[in-house]
Every structure is written in C-alpha cells, then in structure tokens.
C-alpha cells in the first residue's frame, strides 16, 4: 500500500497494535491545547452513547504542536466520560497521536487520517474540528455511512444570517449549479467519509499540488460530487466561530474557491454534461438561521470594494469581459452603497473568474486574490438587502443566488474556452 510510505514506523506499529476497526475518528491539530481536552471528552462521550459495541479508534494527526496537544490526546482517559454518562464500551478505545510534519498542513493531516482508516479497514472515517465538538455529532456524521451506505456526510449548521457568506453566496450556489449537488457546506471542518471514497481520494494526485495541501476538504467534496458518490447532509447544530478565518479572507479564498476552480479543470467532462440536481438527503433539520443583530462596518466594506475595483482595473481587464468590468466600475463609482452588486452580476463575475482561472490568463493565485474585493462588494449588498429579513427571506435570497448560478451555467461553458 503506497500510503504506508509517508506514515512513520512508530505510527504504523501503533496501528498494527490496534488491529481492524469499524469507525475511525480523526482530529487534526496544531497548538490546540486550550480546546483539545473537551473535544476528546465529547468524542468519547459520543462513542460511549452511540457506538459502545463497535471497534473505534481516535487518531490525532498533529502538525508539530509546541503546547503539548498530542500528549493531551494520548493521555485522555475514557474513565471520566464513563463515570459522567454511566455508559461503558465493550471494546478498548484507542487514542493515537502522530506528528505528520513540523508545521500545519491540512492535506498531510487528512491524508494521514484517511491512510490510517484504510489500513485499519474502517468502514467510516469521521473528521472533526479540534476547536469544538458535541457528543451527538459523532453519531450524526457516522450513522449515514455506517448504516445507510452513504459515502460522504457533510454538515448543516445553525448559523447567524451573516456568517459563512462565502459559503452562501459562492461555494454552495456554484457547486450546486456546476456539479448538481445541493451541498450546503462543501468546505467542512466536520464530515464523514466511507472506506470507498477514502480509498478513491487517497489514490488521487491532488496531494502533490499546492491546492491539495491547503484545501483538501473542498477537494474531497468535489471528488465525491464528480465521482457520483452517495452524498448526504447531517444537521449538527450551532457552528462555533473559528478564530482567524475572518481576518484572513485571502487564505480562506485560496483553500475554498481556489480548489473549486481547480477542480473544474480536472472534472470538465463530468460537470459540463451534468444537468439537474441529484438528490442529497438531509438528516435532521435543514439549515437554520439566527437573526440577532450584529454590527458590521459597511463603510469599510464599501471602501474596500471601491478601492479594489479602481486599483485593480488593469488586472480585471485580463480576467473579466468588458461589459462585466464596465458594470463593476459603474457600481463602484456611485455614492456610498448606491449601487447593488446583484445576484446576476455576481454569478457572471464568478464564472468569468473561473474561466480566466482555467485559461490561466494571469497567475492563478493572483486571480483568486483579485476576487477578494469583489466578494466584499457582494457581501455588502447581501447584508444591506437582508438587514431586517426573516429566516425564510434569507433562504429565498440564497435560493435566488443559486438560481442565477444555475441559469448562467451555459455562460460558463461559453466563456470556458475564451468566448466572451
């Protein structure tokens, strides 16, 4: 097995001691000492409650933590969880920690966990975030694969109406329009993978390129959609905000939009021929929205959008069609928030960026970076339009965005090879 070559001897020895398992729970970490204790306890509680008879192993793939995170995982005792819940497992619950590199690397972490799952012949590999996990998440993510033979379970959360807007205005509508799967969270920090999909994904070459290393979660979802695997969603509850994602929008764009655009290259025969929506069952409640008021600095968003459009005009000239660029310039030259960056213009912009990315009109990373100020403009319009709307209206606003992406899919095909 080729995957063995990048796993350390010590890790392989530990895996051999474990033997075969039914479920593997993977936790990628890097300096998560503050949160990892409760996370492991909640995972153990989830296993005790739902899988007391199954063979389960917790694998921690660590990216060179210097705060003792791996020791906390390896030393976590299940006895506390057993006393708290008064439940017991029939099998030994193993917790193994391995260091895959000296620095964080999402691709290497996922690859390590999936390779371990393959070696241990796990039917399900559940991957959870090291920041927060609820005990019931383990069951909600694992059961659709373990009992209903799905291949990928992605989460659905309860979120504030203005959180996760990159997901709602770009990733969800675009993956839905292009691949034909209505997956709410195509880039997930909590998900579950079947042995079939894990083996298929491990065999890809994507691990070797830059995008495979920074955004493997998005790569896994697009692989599952392009490979026509069985996908479903599970409602997990409230999504805890992850520190650092808001301040580094460019990095977030790279590991999500960059990977999505790149996947269009390799999967062209699949998505260009795909029509309509494939069924994606959702276990539990569908996506929920909370409406409490939040303070957003709209002037700053507007300023960043207008500055971006005016300063990056020479860059946009090689990416966008003259008509789209003209509309954007007109929008940005209006008064504060005067123009609306509507759903149609946004879908057209994103598709032109995707086509420019495919044709590599300029450096591909520069194309992704150039999309950032435009996303800010679209965010501002979305916030302004939905300031005092209900959850249903937010949902219809997202549906409207999805409809525009679906309607303009032929335009993406037209622009794909240079026709504008």
């Amino acid at each position: 097995m080729a995957e063995e070559s990048f796993l350390t001897d010590e890790f392989l020895r530990q895996l051999i001691n474990v033997g075969e398992v039914d479920i593997l729970i993977g936790v990628p970490t890097h300096n998560n000492a503050k949160t990892i204790g409760p996370v492991i306890q909640n995972i153990q509680a989830g296993i005790l409650k739902c899988f007391p008879r199954e063979r389960v192993v917790i694998i921690n793939a660590d990216g060179g933590s210097r705060d003792g995170t791996p020791d906390l995982v390896a030393g976590a005792s299940i006895s506390d969880a057993q006393h708290a819940s008064n439940l017991f497992t029939l099998r030994t619950l193993h917790s193994i920690s391995t260091q895959y590199a000296d620095g964080p690397d999402a691709g290497a972490a996922l690859r390590t966990m999936l390779a371990a799952a393959e070696l241990l012949r796990a039917k399900v590999a559940v991957v959870v975030s090291p920041d927060s996990v609820e005990p019931q998440w383990i069951q909600r993510l694992a059961v659709p694969i373990y009992k209903d033979n799905f291949d990928l379970v992605t989460p659905v959360y309860r979120r504030h109406k203005f959180e996760g807007l990159l997901m709602r205005t770009l990733l969800y509508p675009m993956t839905r329009a292009v691949y034909g799967y209505a997956i709410r969270e195509p880039y997930a920090s909590e998900f579950a993978v079947s042995d079939r999909l894990a083996t298929d994904f491990l065999a890809t070459e994507e691990w070797n390129d830059e995008l495979g290393r920074i955004g493997p979660e998005m790569g896994l979802t697009t692989k599952a959609m392009a490979g026509r695997f069985h996908l479903c969603q599970a409602f997990l509850g409230t999504k805890a905000p992850v520190e650092g994602t808001s301040s580094d929008l460019v990095a977030a764009m790279r590991r999500t939009v960059g990977v999505l655009f790149s996947s269009l290259d390799t999967n062209f025969p699949v998505w260009s021929a795909s029509n309509g929506l494939a069924p994606v069952p959702t276990f539990g409640s569908p996506a929920e929205v909370t409406l409490e008021p939040v303070s957003v600095d709209r002037n700053r968003l507007w300023e960043m959008f207008t500055t971006g459009v005016s300063e990056l005009e020479p860059v946009f000239r090689s990416i966008l069609s003259p008509s789209t660029l003209q509309e954007l310039v007109g929008l940005a030259s209006g008064g504060n928030g005067a123009g609306k960056y509507g759903a149609e213009l946004w879908a057209r912009t994103v598709y032109e960026f995707a086509a420019a990315y495919h044709r590599s009109v300029i450096n591909r990373d520069h194309i992704i970076q150039a999309l950032v100020p435009l996303y800010r403009g679209r965010t501002l319009t979305f916030i302004s339009e939905n300031e005092s709307t209900s959850a249903e209206q937010i949902e219809s606003s997202i549906e409207c965005q999805c409809a525009e992406f679906e309607r303009l899919k032929p335009y993406l095909l037209d622009t794909w090879n240079g026709g504008k």
Binding site: G164, L165, M167, S246, V250, S295, D297, L312, S318, I362
Partner: protein, 234 residues
C-alpha cells in the same frame, strides 16, 4: 610619348582586369553565401515563429508586460519581433561570413568578434525577458496584497516594485553586454543608495511621530477593529 601613355593605360587596365578576375570568384562566393544565408535565415525565422506560437510565447510575453510596452512603442508583436530578430542575426552572420570570404585584411577579426558577442546578446535578451516577467509578477502581487490589506497607495507601491526590478534588470543587461559597465554600476549604486537614505531620513526624522502613530495603529488598534468588524466567511 603617346605610346608610353597607351602602354601605361593598357598595363593598368590589364592589372585591373586581372585583379577583378582574381576577386570575381570571391565576389560570387560572397553573393552565394549571402543569398543562401538569406534563405537559411528565412527558414530559421519560420521555425522560430512556429515554435513561439506553439509554446504560446505571446501569452507569456503579455504576462511579462512586454506586449503592452511593444504596443506603446508601435512595434510588432513579441512573437514577430523575436522571429525577425532571429532572421536578422542569422542573415547578418552570413553577410559577415560572405564579406570575410573577400579576404579584406583585418575584417576577419571583426567577424569573429561579432560571433563571440552573439552568446552575450542572447543571455542579455533572456535576462531582459525574465526581468520584465519578474517585474510584472511582483508588481501585480504587491498591488493585490496592498489592496486586500487595505493599504494606502497600492498603485504607488506596485509601481515602485516594478521600477526597482526594471532598473535592476536593465543594469544587469548592460553589464552582460559590457556597455558602460562601470557607469551603470555606479549610477545604480548611487541611485539605490539615495532612495534608501531618503526613505530612512523621511521616515526616521521627518515623520518620527507619524511613524510611531502609524506603527501603533497598524499593530494594535487597527487589527483589533478588523477582527471585530469582519464576519467569518466560512
């Protein structure tokens, strides 16, 4: 007297004819070399043009910003320019070879000098092309980073990066060609040093308070505000 003049004239004409007869084959050889050279140079031009089109050189040149420069100077496309360059270098080479076949004293030395200069010219062109490519790439990277970091004057920053890299490239090209080597190095050193010294003085002395305020705002308050204001995109 008349006979003497006639004899001299006949002798001179005969010598001229002898000389011309001696040079004629060489002249014919030269013309053949030049003509064959033209044919070979034309073929090389066609081959170069096809290779450049196949390797999508025009796109690379556009990325490097060379296309825009050529357009501004009302010059043909980079592919056309480079294939013409191949043609002229090859043909001039053949012309010089042909002229050297005439056996003009001291000319061989110039011909050999020209051929020795060719590799340096080629290296200088490669440096110029990659220098322009790097200048375009890094200036665009600076522009994007500055816009996304919401910095002031992103274009000025980007233009400065481009200018520094172009000056650096041009000085390297001149050094490679051996043109005004010392002057270029001296001018580059003085210019670069003056800019750095000027910036240091402006930032350290002229704008002491401004610099402190800027750094404080940048490293503490502004970051805090950013975190509070931005929503999580994922």
């Amino acid at each position: 007297m008349r006979e003497m003049i006639m004899n001299e004239l006949t002798q001179t004409t005969q010598e001229l004819a002898r000389g011309f007869a001696q040079y004629l084959p060489r002249l014919i050889v030269m013309l053949i070399i030049v003509l064959v050279g033209w044919l070979i140079a034309y073929l090389l031009k066609m081959i170069a043009r096809s290779i450049l089109r196949l390797t999508k050189f025009a796109k690379l040149s556009e990325n490097a910003g060379a296309t825009q420069l050529l357009k501004k100077a009302a010059l043909p496309s980079s592919t056309e320019l480079l294939s013409s360059f191949v043609f002229w270098v090859a043909w001039i080479g053949f012309i010089l070879l042909g002229v050297s076949a005439l056996g003009i004293g001291g000319f061989e030395e110039h011909v050999s000098r020209f051929f020795l200069f060719l590799p340096r010219l080629f290296v200088a062109l490669v440096i110029l092309f990659f220098g322009l490519l790097a200048a375009s790439f890094f200036s665009r990277a600076t522009l994007l980073a500055a816009v996304n970091a919401h910095s002031r004057s992103p274009r000025l920053l980007s233009l400065s990066v481009r200018l520094i890299l172009i000056i650096f490239t041009v000085s390297m090209v001149f050094e490679e060609l051996g043109i005004a080597e010392q002057t270029i190095i001296l001018a580059f050193g003085i210019g670069f040093g003056a800019i750095m010294l000027g910036l240091a003085l402006a930032f350290g002395l002229g704008g002491q308070d401004l610099a402190r305020e800027f750094l404080e705002r940048r490293l503490t308050r502004e970051r805090k505000e950013e975190k509070e204001n931005e929503l999580s995109p994922l």
